[in-house]
């Protein structure tokens, strides 16, 4: 009986969330939320990666590349933080262009790739070695495909929002993330820690910042028509 009630609520929720999408037209606005992501405390030292087991990749890097799980910039900025509208968005618009993910020099480029639910994702192997691309999805279905040198790109998409760690089992140092979002409004920080969410209609939004090691932070922001508001996120960094 309990399970039935739960199912009832789940179905009701499904219908009502569909309702939101059909009632509210995705309105283009001119408001924006911008800001910077920084840290306090001591982040862990990023370690140089030893690629000697894969000479074709090692020789592509004059100096060894480092791990990227906490990538920082001058002025305590944090790179690879995904900032997005997690509530208040008026329904995502259809994704248009495909997003591209590269395996190059035995690294994932970009390290973190944000995309929309249903957006076409193309995965390229630019290396002279085989990779197996293994996104460890839990909400979406996990898969694992071999992509030898010179193979055509893998064409795929994700149907549900999720933060998906990506790894290559052949080259255990390769780590990345697919960040699948249910919004059109997202931004990923560069080395300067800056983000900018543009084209927002007036309204009340919840903005979430996600960092792979330090998790998420949220802030509520209300903007008027055409208004630009600045907010900052600060993560507490631990050295381990």
């Amino acid at each position: 009986m309990q399970r039935k009630i739960f199912m009832l609520l789940a179905v009701a929720a499904l219908v009502s969330s569909n309702g939101v999408i059909s009632f509210a037209m995705p309105a283009a606005g001119s408001g924006a939320i911008t800001g910077k992501v920084t840290y306090t405390g001591t982040p862990p030292k990023m370690k140089p990666i030893d690629m000697s087991k894969e000479p074709s990749c090692a020789k592509q890097h004059a100096t060894p590349v480092s791990t990227e799980n906490v990538a920082t910039g001058p002025g305590n900025t944090l790179e690879f933080v995904v900032v997005y509208i997690s509530a208040g968005d008026t329904g995502p618009s259809e994704p248009t262009a495909a997003v591209r993910y590269d395996q190059k020099g035995c690294q994932y480029l970009p390290h973190v790739l944000p995309m929309q639910v249903g957006q076409q994702l193309q995965i390229f192997n630019d290396d002279q070695t085989s990779h197996n691309i293994h996104p460890l999805a839990k909400v979406n279905q996990e898969w694992n495909k071999s992509q030898p040198a010179g193979s055509p790109p893998i064409d795929t998409k994700y149907d549900k929002p999720e933060f998906i760690p990506v790894k290559c089992n052949i080259h255990p140092w390769m780590h990345g993330y697919f960040v699948v979002l249910n919004t059109t409004h997202y931004s990923i920080t560069g080395p300067d820690g800056a983000f900018s969410l543009k084209g927002l209609p007036a309204g009340k939004y919840t903005v979430t910042a996600w960092q792979e090691q330090y998790g998420t932070q949220t802030q509520d922001v209300t903007i008027g028509a055409g208004e630009t508001k600045a907010i900052d996120f600060t993560f507490k960094a631990l050295p381990y």
Binding site: L8, A12, E142, P148, S151
Partner: protein, 283 residues
């Protein structure tokens, strides 16, 4: 969204559920040939035979689990190694039924042939209640396996080229001993260490023992493990060549081994070694 809209949506949702979900077909079933398994019956069997390792919630946290390596399957993830379906899809009921019947050699999962076929079908139905994915997704379409090509020297030699080119040796090792350069670092999708198959042991594969099973293993991949699918990058005839070569790595009296032994005895010195410094692995 206004309160009124929400109420309307809730009412619509409730009605949709009552009309679609409340019938007797709501319970989870499995269909294997002309057998129909029922989750309610499977639940009793599960509590008796499976719960010790797979746990009451199907999440692989049974009381024996901490002593077991490799770990029991976590049914809540709905990720399965032995499938006839492409990577990233649910297995068929038949796949799960076969796995229960066959057991997993070199692990703690025994063969459940002592149970009746009906009981095994009931267990499959119950296992499917642990993940909501069985309600939202359909099982994948089984891959097509063309008729096996003749076992010839050419086929074996080409298989060896593929073993080099597809970089099977990175994990399975140049001689198939499971000792390739990446082998030591391998983990499954739950971060537990995992070993690649050692062909020199000659044991059955976890997902079967025939040439067809071997074909299926690398064309579907073993989801949840480091073993990827090669379906997009190996053509069907080439896949049979790889099967024929892989058989030569096993210490068994197969036709493949016989042909290959004779060839290596005469021409072994001409063979380029498999591995990082080899241009092609071929002649």
């Amino acid at each position: 969204m206004t309160l009124k809209n929400m109420l309307v949506a809730f009412a619509l949702g409730s009605m949709a559920l009552l009309s679609a979900g409340a019938g007797p077909g709501f319970a989870q079933e499995s269909h294997i040939g002309n057998l129909t398994g029922h989750a309610e019956s499977g639940k009793q069997l599960y509590r008796r035979y499976c719960v010790g390792c797979h746990g009451p919630d199907g999440d692989s946290n049974g009381e024996n689990a901490q002593w077991i390596d490799p770990k029991p399957r976590d049914f809540t993830l709905a990720t399965f190694k032995c499938r006839s379906t492409p990577t990233g899809t649910l297995p068929t009921d038949q796949d799960l039924y076969n796995a229960v019947e066959r057991g997993f050699v070199t692990t703690n999962m025994p063969s459940w042939r002592p149970l009746t076929p009906q009981q095994r079908a009931d267990l499959v139905a119950f296992i499917k209640t642990f993940s909501p994915r069985w309600k939202t997704d359909k099982a994948g379409t089984p891959i097509t396996i063309p008729a096996e090509t003749p076992i010839t020297l050419d086929s074996i030699q080409h298989g060896r080229v593929l073993f080099q080119k597809m970089e099977c040796w990175k994990c399975h090792g140049a001689a198939g001993h499971g000792d390739g350069p990446s082998a030591a670092t391998l983990t499954d999708s739950k971060d537990n260490p995992i070993r690649p198959y050692n062909f020199a042991v000659g044991s059955r594969f976890k997902c079967g023992e025939t040439n067809q099973d071997l074909y299926r293993i690398f064309m579907t991949g073993l989801d949840g493990t480091p073993m990827p699918s090669f379906a997009d990058v190996i053509q069907p005839n080439d896949a049979w060549d790889l099967v024929h070569f892989l058989r030569t790595l096993q210490p068994m009296d197969t036709k493949e081994a016989e042909i290959w032994k004779a060839y290596v005895a005469a021409h072994g010195a001409d063979l380029k070694p498999i591995g990082p410094d080899s241009a092609g692995g071929g002649k």
